[in-house]
């Protein structure tokens, strides 16, 4: 019997890996940002493309990355004779991506602070930004002193985050995304935001109820620079081109194209004043996220189910080490946050086994491994609930253990746990939105891209919510059909 179990086990692993590999190959590389940083002649740039006009996704036209940083990066790499590849991820994951060698450099409106200099190298400053206070017109603040005792919103890990830490008497609320911060301000959960000037202008233009106050620039403290891994050999090359751009006026002309002075917009979204027509041009972009979300859900559900079944067999096995393994496995994967597992797998795999795991594959693996831990318990329960006589009847007929488990016991177990399995799939589908932290462009990620482009909070989210709901409805009706098919024998 140990041999059989091992065979099942390895077959399941291979199948799962194949599925993940095939799925990874199916996706257009842009959808999950391949990191081919070893190939000569290509540089991989990390950015958090939700920060117009520095970097954003041109969701209306095929989802290209656009912005000042992108243009500068394109210019520099072209001058140096490299090809440029861009990976989009959360801002607070960028430093980790540099340190783990996932990207060769980072341009993301990142200020060269002393804290960051401890972990990465910076180029010279290419843009100097000013901090600014955004507040509501009804309750406006125009100096740092007034913020004493107030709640201030900042983007987690941003320069403004570090700056706001120094404001006396203020308490901070740190969020990942600026659109979320603006919403917090509008609903009165924070009193003011500290963001940088260019961003502030856009939001104040788009929201007539907001006002901005620029703070004096602090020399080069707030300047934007390109970040590199410690000891990177290409820093000097980049500095050379930046100097040249400054002297030739190329830099100023790029900046001017991306910072049009005060555009006038007609008064904008107050509260839940919805205007879904803004989504019109983004619909294809958002819909492409369905493919990513579904593919991811299917891969992780399948992998989780196969591996979960193997684990449940381990738990029911008479071989002690297999039992221990499955029990410890379940305990670890149920006992730690999924997000943590996801980040560990994505960032640690390249360092541990020198394999450059793609974000989608890392996500499929993490979700599959995690889901297997839960499913193994469900499946074990289902197997135990099958009448003991079934096993005896099969044994009396001389049917081998494995055939009995797979052909006789498991089908009956599955029938009784089908509702629980559907629950797990639905949960996977919805939790898949977590994968955006490592840059997979799923439905949720695309919705928040549109959110940040339009400076409006709800439309894209509600649209994505509706899509998730429809997907879950489809999934549950399919499950109902399957259940009816399985109940044929009743």
């Amino acid at each position: 019997m140990p041999k059989l179990v091992l065979k099942t086990f390895s077959a399941a692993i291979i199948a799962a890996l194949l599925i993940v590999a095939v799925a990874g190959g199916l996706l257009p590389s842009q959808a999950f940002g391949a990191a081919a940083n070893d190939a000569k002649g290509t540089l991989v740039m990390g950015t958090s493309a939700d920060y117009p006009p520095f970097e954003s996704v041109d969701a209306k036209n095929g989802g290209q990355y656009v912005g000042l940083d992108i243009d500068i990066a394109k210019y520099i790499t072209e001058q140096l004779g490299y090809k440029l590849e861009i990976i989009n991820m959360d801002f607070n994951g960028l430093i980790a991506a540099l340190q783990t060698g996932r990207v060769d450099f980072v341009m993301s409106g990142m200020s060269a602070t002393d804290e960051r200099r401890e972990s990465v190298d910076f180029s010279m400053i290419y843009y100097s930004a000013r901090n600014s206070i955004i507040s509501t017109k009804d309750n406006a603040y125009d100096s740092i002193e007034q913020l004493n005792g107030k709640t201030i919103g900042v983007q987690l890990g941003s320069t403004q985050d570090y700056f706001a830490e120094t404001i006396p008497g203020a308490s901070l609320k740190k969020l990942n995304k600026i659109p979320d911060l603006v919403q917090e301000l509008k609903t009165g959960r924070v009193d003011a935001l500290i963001v940088e000037d260019a961003v502030a202008i856009d939001y104040v233009n788009a929201n007539s109820d907001l006002t901005v106050e620029f703070l004096p620039a602090e020399a080069d403290e707030n300047g934007y620079a390109i970040a590199f891994p410690k000891g990177s050999a290409i820093v000097n090359d980049f500095n050379g081109i930046i100097t040249e751009m400054k002297e030739s006026g190329k830099l100023d002309s790029l900046i001017n194209t991306w910072f049009p002075m005060q555009k006038e917009t007609e008064g904008s979204a107050l509260g839940l004043n919805l205007d879904f027509s803004i989504l019109k041009d983004y619909i294809p972009y958002i819909l492409r996220g369905i493919y990513v979300t579904l593919l991811f859900t299917i891969v992780s559900a399948l992998f989780g189910f196969i591996w979960g079944t193997v684990l449940s067999f381990f738990k029911l096995s008479r071989i002690k080490p297999l039992q221990w393994f499955a029990t410890v496995y379940t305990s670890i994967f149920r006992g730690t946050p999924l997000l943590l597992q996801l980040l560990l797998i994505y960032y640690a795999t390249p360092q541990l086994i020198n394999y450059d795991i793609s974000p989608l594959m890392a996500a499929g693996l993490a979700f599959g491994l995690n889901s297997a831990a839960y499913l193994s318990e469900t499946i074990r329960g289902g197997i135990l609930a099958v009448d003991k006589g079934q096993q005896e009847a099969a044994m009396a007929l001389g049917i081998p253990y494995r055939t009995m488990m797979i052909k006789i016991i498991l089908p009956q177990a599955l029938r009784s746990i089908l509702p629980a399995l559907v629950n797990e799939c639905v949960a996977l589908l919805k939790e898949s939105s977590l994968v955006s932290v490592i840059g997979v462009q799923d439905l949720m990620r695309r919705a928040s891209v549109v959110q940040s482009l339009e400076f409006r909070a709800f439309e894209a989210l509600l649209f994505a919510g509706a899509i998730y709901y429809v997907l879950v409805l489809i999934l549950t009706s399919l499950a109902r059909l399957l259940e009816r098919r399985m109940r044929r024998s009743d």
């Binding site: 006589g389 005896e392 009847a393 009396a396 007929l397 049917i399 089908p411 009956q412 024998s489 009743d490």
Partner: protein, 240 residues
Amino acid sequence: MIKVTDITKTFGKTEVLKGITTTIARGEVVAIIGPSGSGKSTFLRCLNLLEKPTSGKITIADTEITSPKTDVMRVRQRIGMVFQHFHLFPHMTVIDNITFAPRTVKGMPDGKARANALSLLDRVGLADKADSYPSRLSGGQKQRVAIARSLAMEPDIMLFDEPTSALDPEMVKEVLNVIQSMAHTGMTMVIVTHEMKFAREAADTIYFMDDGRLVEKAAPEQFFSNPQSERAVRFLNQVL
């Protein structure tokens, strides 16, 4: 055919079989009777190793099946068993129930397995139920399918564990008829039953068990008309 030498079986601290020794000849039909808890079913289940005897030896056709070296699966393929609660596979049709083991265990081609199954179904009078699911059958029909399922493996020995105890009274007859018809085919059969009339008519030998022991072993006429032990007398007085 079957040689049992001093087997015992202990569950925890309870000694269910207290040393049973007997020999069953090829083609012999044995009916085991006795009060509940006397160890009848446990003894039967030891014969195909669904229970592993705590001590003692069982030899079937010159193979010592209690030896650790014996391939239990192979032994069981030659011994059919019919259970009180049928244990048909509920997710398979009647025909699939019957053909599953011959196809997967013996590697019998689908066509041949199906033809065999249909002729067995015909023999138990259920040819028209081939494509039904077990849930559509009455208890008596289920038990007849279960018998056909065991026979499909072409066993040398058939074990019956109270095959009619879970049936409504009007269905007992149809099942007993099938079993009785098998008794004339030369099949070695061991039947645990509470049907005294059936035991008397169908069996070559009656085993009377009480308290984990094989108390009496006799031809039906002799046992029912002239039981030797006091316990058998008391038992027969209660059931007849």
